[in-house]
């Protein structure tokens, strides 16, 4: 990124506008790998970014994949997702607990062996 790019994807100005100046995505409790699924179809008049999220999440998709497909930072995507969650337009499937139980570890071992 060069300092002269006034409307670059990642400039704070653009990101500020996208999120309406809100911050604090943590409140939505979203992890990078929380799976998001759309509950409703995009509607006319929605903010384009909201619409895009609903479109890419027809099947479950992680927060970080949404970020990659929309080319927006995770910190912005989580704010946009908080809106959609509040309106119950998407469902969030929480990641496995951070201290995984032995069953998850066993399942991953098994899954990797079968690749």
């Amino acid at each position: 990124m060069t300092p002269d790019d006034e409307w670059d994807e990642g400039t704070p100005e653009r990101l500020y506008i996208l999120t309406g100046g809100r911050s604090g995505p943590e409140e939505a409790g979203l992890d990078l790998v929380t799976l998001i699924v759309a509950r409703s179809a995009p509607q006319i008049g929605m903010q384009p970014e909201h619409e895009s999220i609903l479109r890419v999440c027809e099947s479950p998709l992680s927060v970080v994949e949404i970020s990659a497909h929309l080319k927006l930072p995770v910190s912005i995507v989580t704010v946009l997702l908080a809106d959609l969650l509040a309106e119950e337009r998407v469902e969030a499937r929480a990641p496995a607990p951070s201290l995984p139980d032995i069953d998850i570890i066993k399942a991953v071992i098994h899954g990797l062996q079968n690749l």
């Binding site: 992890d31 479950p60 497909h69 080319k71 496995a96 399942a107």
Partner: protein, 206 residues
Amino acid sequence: MVSRTFETVAGPRSEDTLPSSATSAVKIVIVGGFGVGKTTLVRSVSEIRPLTTEETMTQASVSVDDLEGIERKSMTTVAMDFGRISIDDELVLYVFGTPGQQRFWFLWNGLFEGALGAVVLVDTRRLEASFDVLGRLEESQTPFVVAVNAFDEAPSYSDEELREALDLTDDVPLLVCDARSRESSKGVLLALMRYLYSLAMTSEAT
């Protein structure tokens, strides 16, 4: 609201969509110095074409950068590669390959929190590139294994020499891999998972 035109977002290819039964996901982080093969390993194991996410970070909380030629500025863009492996109908594993600039990984919100563990990729020509990250992983109590990505030109050392040089205790698994090979990279992830299994068994026993 944004007034400029917003290009249509393609989204995942149909063969890359997860089944609607997918309910939870876990993650593993691949760390290591510049060019040790992190992206290559992610690509080798991923079922989707690896994706990239970028985050803009303020450098305010970062201590003075020791990388020459990198000017101090207030914002830095950090890109992270990642891939995905479907474990079964319900569980999905994500594998993250961190970028070379180690200082930023630990600022990345939620990258290490909740991660099952980490793989430290090592190039024996530049062992010192791993010192910083090994220390930070220990600090953050993230369990990890160390995998030497065997480049043809790189010197090979005995396990004892490597453990000594990297200051690794005997319980940390150390293995050799070829990040370009799917089987070998899969073996690295399995080594980490078996290690986590042994840790979980030990903590359950106490």
